[in-house]
């Protein structure tokens, strides 16, 4: 799905095309006009600057969808159809109350993606450690503890909870197996908030989370930019060219899940 300001839709669609899945880039206006949301098995909120990210990143798109197609979206969520949010997409899912979604869709954002620390837009490759025990349908095929390499590019990616609740909410993320990716170093040690391994100062190095059902998943990094080997920053150094980038695993995970569901 896209709106004015979405700009990572083409490469995201390309990832699905490459894996032999039919994906459409649909403008929100079109979905609303024809009420077509439920024709799809899965929904992706790609990266970009929806509506210029005015107010707060993702805020306008989130409210817009809830207002214009809240009903269909609720059905979509209740039927556990998978939803993926990348970068701006994660910001939307959080603003819309779909993530972390401790008690299902929340009427207000339970977390926030605050401005980076250190401040400013930051485009770099980072390492992610897979933390999920199998709940997240997008990563269930990825072994726990595996380190993935994917780029980030954002200025508002610092995942935080309300200070007074953060301890408790973090525990709940673990209890529900909602933690999916944490920023780490090349060797897999957690970034522990240290820049640049943790590129934005995220609480507990959180890079991606899913809802308690594991069907809604959002992450700040861009798997669609780590799909091919030639997208990697140092491929010119490697004697043996890798088959693909780590980002591919996430799209494959989604497709595996959809096949199971059929």
């Amino acid at each position: 799905m896209r709106v004015g300001g979405t700009n990572c839709d083409a490469e995201t669609k390309r990832a699905f095309d490459e894996l032999g899945v039919h994906a459409e880039v649909a403008h929100v206006n079109e979905l609303v006009k024809r009420g077509r949301l439920l024709e799809y098995h899965a929904l992706v909120f790609p990266g970009g600057f929806s509506y210029g990210d005015y107010v707060r990143a993702g805020a306008i798109w989130a409210k817009w969808i809830l207002a214009k197609m809240g009903k269909e979206l609720k059905v979509f969520v209740d039927e556990n159809r998978p939803i993926l949010g990348i970068c701006n997409g994660l910001q939307v899912l959080v603003e819309a109350g779909l993530l972390p979604g401790f008690e299902g869709v929340s009427p207000y954002p339970e977390a926030s993606l605050a401005t980076n620390v250190p401040p400013g837009y930051n485009c770099r490759w980072v390492y992610l450690k897979h933390e999920n025990n199998g709940k997240c349908v997008f990563t269930s095929k990825i072994p726990k503890g595996k380190v993935l390499r994917v780029p980030v590019a954002h200025s508002e990616g610092r995942f935080i909870f309300a200070k007074e609740k953060e301890k408790r909410l973090l525990e709940r993320l673990y209890e529900n197996d909602q933690l999916v990716f944490r920023y780490c170093k090349k060797n897999g040690e957690y970034a522990e908030g240290h820049y640049p391994a943790n590129p934005n100062g995220s609480f507990h190095d959180i890079a991606g989370i899913c809802n308690p059902e594991g069907t809604i998943f959002g992450l700040m990094p861009h798997p669609e930019r780590a799909f091919y080997w030639w997208q990697q920053p140092d491929w010119t150094r490697q004697r043996q060219m890798p088959q693909c980038g780590d980002g591919k695993l996430i799209f494959e995970g989604l497709i595996n899940h959809l096949e199971k569901e059929k």
Binding site: G4, G5, N7, C8, A10, E11, R14, H27, N29, E30, G47, G48, F49, Y51, G52, P118, G120, Y121, N122, C123, R124, P151, A153, H222, E224, R225, F227, Y228, W230, Q231, P233, D234, W235, T236, R237, M241
Partner: protein
């Protein structure tokens, strides 16, 4: 204001008739000044003549339209006009030097050059690559963020203006020293740091928001940029050539699409064609437009859809001069006239006078020509993207421009008159600079000099800026601006634009303002050489060039003289390298209370990489490999970073030996294609020492080099061999087993093995007497390179 010169018409809106017929010369100039149309006496007289024949006075709409169309910014008087220089008389710098290169080489792969908003070359059978680089110096000096952002927005529209989909942006910037003493700033001049932060943020915000990767660029610091910031914004686009439709016909609808029109950007072009003064802030603030990248993002989507469904007959962007130049130029191009109803133009707020609507440079607007039968479909496409599009008139059989407001005619002029301004004749004088070659002893500790050079602003890492630009979006950047784990500086960026093809585009640039202080001829030659060798270093070939001039006031003979010299070099060396110019732009009148800008020529090179899998990066790859230097080193330190560090400019500016250089470039390309080159880095600012250091810390291996093996001419000092900035040179890493093949291949070029890649994490260089002259750990080299601009923006 002398009233009798301006007669207000009986109308429900403000429109004046300007009494030029009765005006004496002095008053003509007065009118030009008071209306801010920036026409000189010769031009005002031509206007008077024309309207005398018509037997009436011009309206303000007409006079403003003329002012815009004839401005330096829109018409490039200097490049198209006559120039007397000593005995020589040059009829159009542009034709004589720039366009001539392309005509003489006349490559089949040039699709459309100097025709449109952007130049287009063939990429493969079906696709073309469009490229344009814009200057946005004046606005950025007044309002850095807005000025730079709208510079990016403008050049992206130039690409859309040839039906191309923007796939990459470039930015080359020039600022005053960031540590410049506030108290020394003259009134009206903003501090370099403020301008730097604003410009960088402005460029980032526009490119990032539009989802176009900013992949290539450079930042230079020079005292002369304090009062004249230099902002070059470039954009590269991709288009299916068969969708390139430019054939507007009479009765086609004039469709204005995108943002609303307001008072922002009134007289932008006349402002850009004048010197900056203390008053610029208050006088010209309205000339700076306001950017809204999201509007342009949506506009882009709609335009690409219209293109793919082949619903429009022509397109052009609204930039300098707003509607006045867009409508006029389109009509001229297709030999039509045009009728425009200004009251149809959607406004940001009421109260604009007709002439303001017509010349406003409000951003994110494009002008399409649409056959009447397609109008419905086109409007629907724009509506689906939440973009406003309005029919504001149509093209006509007659060759007249007619403008109406609320049913009343406010302008009627012959298109031909609009595009035949009196030819400007300027005189140029060339004076060689009087710098002396400095005399000083060779410093004891050259390791320190290397470290200092690495942290000198022009060489130091620009990482804090580069990372604030999204250079990954679209997922097609295969060679990134920063290389490897430690972010070494790649010579060019490579984009892989098509899914089903390994073919790539290499984008690089060359700029040596410091040489321009000594000799603009060799500056231009060096800029071309640098742009081309950067491109060759990563595997680019079949290179096309873009030229962007930032110069002082051309009405001053010696400034113009140095411009002529630079153009001569452009012809000579682009011809020698067989690299045609496909597009360009000049920004003159870059003068401030602190004096003129250092003559600054940016050359942007666009190369083709047949297979991106053969792309070469600049970081050393493996211990034990051999390191070669290709190209001869001369005693050429004039304008070098080394002399700057020592507080000199010098005289011995680097020259270019066209034939030898061309041979070197072809040999490197062959070696790359045969996979013999593991790493390749061009030698530029800081010379051999800096290039070697960068390759080493980018790759994480040490280097052991020996200056005695470096092919030199008339060089007996270690510091000169280390830091000379002679052109057409590369450092190349070759694995042991490929040495023979590489050496055979390089026969006929100047090439020598000067050392090896080592496990030791140090850069060690033996001097001419065999003693170590440079010995530093990669860690300290990297640290000095990164510290200067690490603070970020």
């Amino acid at each position: 204001m002398t009233t009798r010169l301006y007669i207000r018409r009986e109308a429900t809106f403000p429109v004046f008739e300007i009494n030029v017929l009765e005006a004496a010369d002095q008053q003509l100039l007065e009118i030009s000044r008071e209306l801010g149309v920036g026409l000189n006496l010769q031009e005002m007289k031509a206007v008077k003549e024309y309207f005398k024949k018509k037997g009436r006075n011009p309206t303000d709409v007409e006079l403003q339209t003329i002012g815009q169309t004839w401005s330096e910014h829109c018409f490039h008087k200097t490049f198209k006009g006559k120039i007397k220089m000593g005995e020589k008389e040059i009829d159009s710098l542009f034709k004589t030097y720039i366009a001539r290169v392309t005509e003489e080489i006349n490559p089949k792969w040039c699709f459309s050059v100097f025709e449109d908003n952007a130049g287009i070359i063939r990429f493969d059978k079906g696709y073309g690559v469009a490229a344009k680089v814009e200057t946005h110096n004046h606005p950025s000096a007044i309002e850095p963020f807005g000025g730079a952002a709208t510079g990016v927005g403008g050049v992206i529209r130039d690409i859309l203006g040839v039906w191309a989909d923007p796939i990459a942006c470039t930015d080359v910037l020039g600022f005053g020293p960031l540590n410049f003493d506030y108290s020394k700033l003259p009134p009206g001049v903003k501090h370099p740091k403020y301008i730097y932060m604003g410009v960088v943020a402005g460029i980032g915000s526009y490119g990032n928001n539009m989802g176009i990767p900013t992949v290539s660029g450079a930042i230079y610091f020079d005292e002369s940029y304090i009062g004249n910031v230099v902002v070059y914004c470039g954009c590269v686009g991709l288009l299916p050539l068969k969708k390139f439709s430019k054939n507007a016909k009479p009765n086609d609808i004039i469709l204005l699409a995108g943002g609303k029109t307001g008072r922002d950007g009134i007289h932008g072009v006349t402002f850009a064609s004048a010197e900056l003064t203390e008053k610029s802030e208050e006088v010209s603030r309205p000339a700076v437009q306001i950017a809204n990248p999201i509007e342009e993002e949506k506009l882009k989507r709609a335009i690409i859809t219209v293109r793919d469904r082949e619903l429009a007959s022509a397109i052009t962007d609204l930039g300098g001069g707003g509607l006045s130049s867009a409508v006029g130029e389109t009509a001229k191009k297709f030999g039509c006239g045009a009728v425009v109803e200004l009251d149809k133009v959607p406004l940001k707020y009421p109260g604009l006078a007709p002439w303001e609507i017509y010349v406003s440079e409000s951003q994110e607007r494009m002008l399409l020509a649409v056959p009447p039968e397609n109008l419905g479909k086109v409007l629907e496409i724009f509506e689906n993207e939440d973009v406003e599009a309005t029919a504001i008139g149509k093209y006509t059989q007659d060759k007249l421009l007619r403008i109406y407001y609320r049913g009343e005619k406010v302008a009627e002029m012959d298109i031909s008159f609009l595009f035949e301004p009196p030819k400007t004749v300027r005189t140029a004088k060339y004076e060689p600079s009087n710098f002396e070659e400095p005399v000083f002893p060779e410093p004891k500790n050259l390791t320190d000099i290397v470290l200092q050079l690495l942290s000198s602003p022009n060489i130091a890492s620009k990482e804090s800026v580069i990372r604030s630009y999204d250079h990954e979006v679209k997922g097609n950047t295969t060679l990134k601006p920063l290389q490897g784990e430690f972010g070494g500086p790649n010579d060019a960026a490579v984009i892989k634009p098509l899914e089903n093809s390994w073919k790539g585009i290499a984008i690089s640039c060359g700029m040596n303002p410091n040489y321009g202080k000594i000799d603009t001829y060799w500056m231009a030659a060096s800029a071309i050489d640098e742009a081309v060798r950067n491109n060759v270093a990563v595997g680019g070939r079949r290179i096309a060039l873009l030229d962007n001039f930032t110069w002082g006031n051309p009405e001053k003979p010696e400034r113009l003289g140095s411009l002529v010299k630079a153009c001569e070099a452009c012809y000579k060396f682009a011809r020698a390298f067989r690299t045609p110019f496909i597009s360009g732009k000049d920004s003159l009148y870059n003068e401030s209370p602190l004096g003129p800008v250092t003559p600054t020529l940016l050359i942007t090179a666009l190369g083709i990489v047949p297979d991106i899998r053969l792309t070469v990066s600049m970081d050393v790859k493996e211990a034990g490999d051999a390191v070669y230097i290709v190209g001869r080193t001369f005693a050429e330190l004039g304008g070098s970073e080394y002399y700057r560090l020592k507080g000199f400019v010098g005289k011995t500016v680097p020259k270019v030996h066209g034939v030898q250089a061309k041979r070197t470039f072809s040999a490197i390309t062959k070696a790359v294609d045969l996979g013999l080159v593991k790493a390749c880095h061009d030698l530029s600012e800081g010379g051999l020492a800096v290039a070697a250091a960068e390759m080493a810390f980018a790759g994480g291996y040490g280097l052991e080099l020996d200056l005695r093996k470096v092919p030199c001419e008339a060089l007996a000092r270690n510091d000169f061999v280390l830091f000379s900035e002679s052109n057409s040179r590369f450092l190349v890493e070759v694995s042991e087993r490929d040495k023979k093949d590489f050496e055979t291949l390089m026969k006929g070029t100047v090439c020598a093995e000067i050392g090896t890649v080592s496990e030791k994490q140090r850069l060690c260089i033996k001097g001419l007497d065999g003693e170590a002259v440079v010995d530093a750990s990669l860690a300290e080299l990297l640290a000095s390179w990164k510290k200067t601009l690490s603070s970020g923006v």
